[in-house]
């Protein structure tokens, strides 16, 4: 008799605790979303609903479309470079023997050991030398470099998880390794590629320090840097309405992509790639 009652009490405890915590976790986002469309600033009147905050954000600085475009370009470069480079590299490392393989693998993983922020100053100088300072391409390449350890580990594991017999057969049939990769293996490692792309996207879209340092031309700013300028640009008079609508604009793509691709995100944890 006592057992079901005990269980009921436990699950009541679970639901109440979890609900309180869930409200705490959702609250900052919900409030920001709410105040970006409600209130004096948002409505342009005394009170009520309106999209004035978003209108002011739209026309801030070089304009929201420019910042969104810049951020998208950087994110696209980072995602494409990371996925292509780690898929090819992962295939090579997982399936072939070649001179320098172990060194390459270890040096790539060593990127994790080197604190991100400390290497940005020499990178700033170096990008200047090769003409990629103040460039969205240079920024995208640097951000891709920081994704390589996780991506390589993830892709190597993905290739190793596929049965070798599959390719052996194709190779004996006279298929080239490139053909095997294209026709046989890509389908198998596609989930790993989605995981790598997802991590690269979230990192690039949200990156703050690197664009802050590398980009000097206001028209090239990414959204996080533009929003920072909106906050810190004119001391004392921050347009909080525009800032909040900016935070919502920056967060919505990430939250949406994450909700759609959750299971791929979790795969990044379970694959052990984080332990690299």
């Amino acid at each position: 008799m006592s057992r079901p009652r005990h269980r009921a009490a436990r699950s009541a405890g679970f639901y109440s605790t979890s609900t309180v915590l869930a409200v705490l976790f959702l609250f900052p986002m919900v409030w920001t979303l709410f105040s970006s469309v409600h209130g004096r600033q948002a409505s342009g009147r005394g009170n009520g609903w309106g999209i004035d905050d978003y209108k002011r954000l739209f026309h801030y600085g070089s304009g929201l479309p420019a910042y969104l475009l810049n951020t998208t370009v950087v994110a696209l470069i980072t995602v494409c470079v990371t996925v292509v480079v780690t898929t090819l590299g992962g295939y090579a490392v997982a399936r072939f023997d070649f001179p320098g393989k172990n060194v390459l693998f270890l040096v790539t993983l060593a990127i994790l050991m080197v604190p991100y922020a400390t290497i940005l100053v020499p990178l700033y100088v170096f990008l200047g030398w090769i003409g990629l300072q103040n460039s969205l391409i240079g920024l995208g390449l640097v951000l891709a470099m920081f994704q390589l350890p996780f991506g390589l580990f993830m892709m190597r594991n993905s290739f190793e998880a596929l049965p070798v017999e599959l390719e052996e057969a194709a190779l004996i049939d006279g298929c080239t390794p490139t053909g095997v990769l294209r026709r046989v293996l890509l389908r198998g490692v596609a989930p790993g590629m989605v995981t790598v792309a997802l991590f690269a996207f979230l990192a690039a879209w949200n990156e703050f320090v690197a664009p802050l340092i590398f980009l000097t031309d206001g028209a090239k700013f990414t959204l996080p840097v533009a929003l920072f300028n909106l906050e810190a640009g004119n001391f004392g008079s921050v347009d909080f309405g525009a800032l909040q609508s900016g935070v919502v604009t920056a967060a919505v793509p990430c939250v949406a992509v994450f909700l759609l691709l959750q299971r791929y995100y979790v795969r990044g944890f379970t694959s052990g790639a984080l332990k690299g």
Binding site: S11, T32, A92, L104, T108, N206, V209, S271
Partner: protein, 310 residues
């Protein structure tokens, strides 16, 4: 509803089992050695050009007088005097304080969350997703979001404080307040992320052990101390390394929330100031080298400490 659940990821591509022999490369593949090198070339080029070269450059710069604009010249170890600068020492002390507080608070909250949603009745997946959701928001966006929460009159934080404390609180107005406020924001932003890491570790514990503990009449606390915590050690080590590294390198949160004012500059903010306000890239590189060496030592020590007798 797709739920955040490490248990659902197909084990097919989760070879956490010991690495299989990687030398079972068949003769058939040996002929493709050159092709394999071609595949690995883009990786090698990016790693060499954007990682190895800048790393070497950093060390070289640290031994040079290197203004932001203008010519550079070797100057020995002069730049390393930046490590004795009171501004740096203060930043170091503040960063260490922040790291300790953040790691402890974040660790405890994440562990509580993980235990809460590891197993549970229907709907547990929804709660996991909600707890993780802030981690999908960028750190800079999260900082700007809380900047609004701390600084607007209409913010519920300020409304609550007026009710409870009878007055406004200057959330970021002093070193202490800014530290507590920032730790709160960081906990909100990262708790779900570390919860997920801890859940992966908890999931790896064989249920038979819990069964055995129950048969032996072990209570909740004993089971926790004798079974869960020891077996969770590698996961806790991973979490600590990530949290300590992340906190020692904190930049976004303080740069956005306080701009480093009121004595809240971190060591990375110090690097930024040396480089772009004092326009002395040499000194910035010297501090960077020191941070790099320090972190490698700290992480090595942490891993060794947590891996010993396990």
């Amino acid at each position: 509803m797709v739920s955040l659940s490490p248990t659902r990821a197909p084990s097919r591509d989760a070879p956490s089992s010991p690495p299989r022999a990687r030398h079972d490369v068949s003769p058939l593949r040996r002929g493709h050695r050159r092709l394999a090198m071609v595949y690995a070339t883009p990786l090698a080029v990016i790693v060499a050009v954007l990682f190895v070269v800048p790393l070497g450059l950093m060390v070289w710069m640290s031994f040079n007088h290197w203004p932001l604009l203008g010519a550079s010249a070797p100057n020995g170890v002069t730049n390393y005097r930046a490590l004795g600068d009171p501004l740096f020492l203060h930043a170091l002390w503040f960063t260490v304080k922040y790291t300790v507080v953040t790691t402890v608070v974040l660790g405890l909250v994440a562990f509580g969350l993980a235990l809460l949603v590891q197993e549970g009745p229907r709907g547990v997946g929804l709660f996991r997703t909600v707890f993780f959701l802030p981690s999908a928001v960028g750190l800079a966006s999260a900082s700007l979001l809380f900047y609004g929460m701390f600084n607007t009159d209409s913010s519920p934080l300020n409304a609550a404080m007026r009710l409870l404390a009878g007055g406004d609180v200057d959330w970021l107005g002093s070193s202490g307040n800014a530290l507590i406020s920032t730790v709160g924001m960081i906990t909100w932003r990262f708790a779900g992320f570390y919860m997920l890491i801890l859940m992966t570790g908890l999931h790896g514990i064989d249920p038979v052990l819990y069964e055995a503990a129950r048969t032996d009449g072990a209570g909740w606390w004993q089971t926790m101390r004798r079974v869960t915590l020891p077996l969770l050690r590698p996961t806790i080590a991973l979490m600590m390394v990530l949290s300590v590294t992340g906190s020692l390198l904190a930049f976004d949160q303080f740069f956005i929330l306080t701009g480093g004012r009121h004595g809240t500059a971190t060591i990375v903010i110090d690097v930024y100031r040396e480089a772009f306000l004092s326009q002395d890239l040499g000194r910035a590189a010297a501090v960077s080298v020191a941070i790099l060496v320090g972190l490698v030592i700290i992480n090595g020590a942490q891993l060794r400490l947590l891996r010993r007798d396990s």
